[in-house]
Symmetry: C2
Subunit: 340 residues, 2 copies
DNA sequence: TTGAAAGCGCTAACAG
DNA sequence: CTGTTAGCGCTTTCAA
């Protein structure tokens, strides 16, 4: 009476369905795959057997046979960072449109973990990879996989020496625009709080900061520049030292989301009102008093472009590898328009 | 000269390695799997061949053969919602510890999409599922998969009629605590802005709101209660109407993150200072003036517990299905302590 | 220790 | 149209 599903997976297979319907497995396969060339009678019989047994095609087996995984891998720094979760959202959207499943992971900036996850994706033979590459010297394994034919798109930062499509934000231009904006409002002492000095985004944003100052003929004062250390944003003391010092800044440029909220938190404890422009937009930037002016990146577009690029490669596009740089936009909300 | 990789995947297989090393495929398999019972000489030969060919085991094939997927599926409402991205982070962490890959997807509250993704996960024969179930009548497919032996854990809301482990927040208790807090500060006219009325979390939070009022002997005024409609939080007009009306509220309870930020945005445009307690903690809640008092959920714990529950089931734990309800905590930051 | 061979569940020729 | 058969790349008896 009870159906006899195959022992290993615990679920009925096409063989079980075929037996039950009194047909061959290929007929079952055809019905399941929507192949038209099956007689109505057999189609019905197969459908019945499928329903009775509760059969559901094993797509892993299917994929193995077909040689395509119908899935892509996404490696970001951290899902809980709004920048990356928006990228994820966009990639999910595109993958969904393409009926591709998404395997996702966060490196948490751990190069070893990034390596582990990327290799795990490759071992699963995903169709392609979208990666925020680890800031690491040892990317040999990436090169190997690339040479082995794994399609990949890098986001947020490039991998020097590797030929692959890359989608970046215009970090230099964005930072420069932020600082120019502050200069235009009369500021000449502009502090800079940013992420770790070694990071690609940070390096470029500080570069933009410097360029803006230099273009305005303002000398660069290293004591105004502070970076996070090992993920810790200890800006309270340096900020206090600057503000209570002899020649305090009148404005602040923050190099990313976390730097902005850290500084915001400190400033809310002090009477001073400094001008502020932050890199990266964030929820409630308009609710804080005054509203926080920002250089907005476009993570949704970044994710969407990366995913579309990947899928077009998978579709056979073999045009030269390209690097796409996304423009930023300055959103004025008040904090950046405070005059010196 | 060039190695001859197998044609379909484009990558060398164990057969290629075996041929090259002059051994049998099972020897290669043993070496790759770290089986000790292989002579040093052959081990070396295999290692060499692997390196020369750039062989990487196809884990999909491996999984098919072994019958375990070493991957789990996670379906949430939306990755870009901090509540769910924190859940994702916790699940990622546990999955990583268990060397399991994570397939993730967002339903965006679309029951059809939820269905599609869940069935896709099942078709891939993931080892188990962590799901924010769609608020939908037709969950027959879920029951079927459950009966077919797919292990699943529901988070954030239960599925009535389905026997599966579930992890919830104490929505009623949290909301009640929020409103009791406001009442304790002298408020008797407390408005309530919340998510769609039909949703599990919303229903329970409004219930907690009502319970607190009733317990204090305060009659419930339906005109004080407003819900979002189809994902749109149009609270500006109802709030204005209440504040400009005859008997305005002196406090507000918001039923989730988005309601809180919407109300916060409106209040920042008005001179009035209302007391406010919001359900869900959020970044910068302490930076806004005054700091926003909240009922904090614990998404990291929710994700971690759900994932651990799932893996313990996969490890063979067959104790009765359980529902775990997570306590909330009230974080006082100022807005909730404003007196009537 | 080792290799041959039988599958995991599915698809895709290839004959009928 | 349909069924038989040979794999996809791997693991795992089973003999040797």
């Amino acid at each position: 009476m009870t159906p006899t599903p195959s022992p290993v997976s615990g679920r009925p297979t096409m063989r079980d369905v075929a037996r039950r319907a009194g047909v061959g497995v290929s007929t079952v396969s055809r019905v399941v795959s929507g192949d038209v060339r099956v007689s109505p009678a057999r189609t019905a019989a197969v459908r019945t057997a499928i329903a009775e047994l509760g059969f559901r095609r094993n797509d892993s087996a299917r994929q193995l046979r077909k040689g395509a995984a119908a899935s892509i891998g996404l490696l970001i720094e951290s899902v809980s960072d709004p920048f990356f979760s928006l990228i994820t959202q966009a990639v999910e959207e595109v993958a969904n449109d393409r009926d591709s499943l998404l395997m996702s992971a966060s490196s948490n900036r751990d190069a070893e973990r990034a390596r582990k996850m990327i290799l795990a994706f490759c071992a699963r033979r995903v169709d392609g990879l979208i990666i925020t590459p680890p800031e690491s010297q040892s990317i040999d394994y990436l090169r190997q996989e690339l040479l082995a034919g794994v399609r990949m798109v890098f986001i947020d930062r490039p991998v020097p020496g590797l030929e692959a499509d890359t989608v970046l934000t215009d970090n230099v231009g964005g930072a420069r625009a932020a600082v120019e904006h502050l200069i235009a409002h009369g500021h000449r002492r502009i502090a800079c709080f940013t992420d770790r000095h070694e990071l690609f985004t940070s390096i470029n944003r500080v570069l933009g900061y410097r360029q803006a100052l230099e273009a305005a003929g303002i000398p660069i004062d290293p004591s105004l520049i502070h970076a996070s250390v090992n993920g810790a944003y200890r800006f309270a003391e340096p900020l206090a030292a600057l503000l209570d010092g002899p020649n305090p800044p009148t404005a602040v440029f923050t190099g990313n989301n976390r730097a902005t909220s850290t500084i915001l938190r400190e400033l809310s404890r002090r009477p001073e009102t400094l001008a502020l422009v932050g890199f990266d937009d964030f929820e409630l930037a308009d609710v804080v008093q005054p509203g926080v002016s920002v250089i907005a990146q476009d993570p949704l577009t970044m994710g969407r472009i990366a995913a579309n690029l990947l899928f077009s490669r998978l579709d056979g596009d073999s045009s030269p590898v390209q690097t796409i740089t996304l423009r930023t936009s300055l959103i004025a909300r008040g904090s950046g328009e405070i005059r010196a």
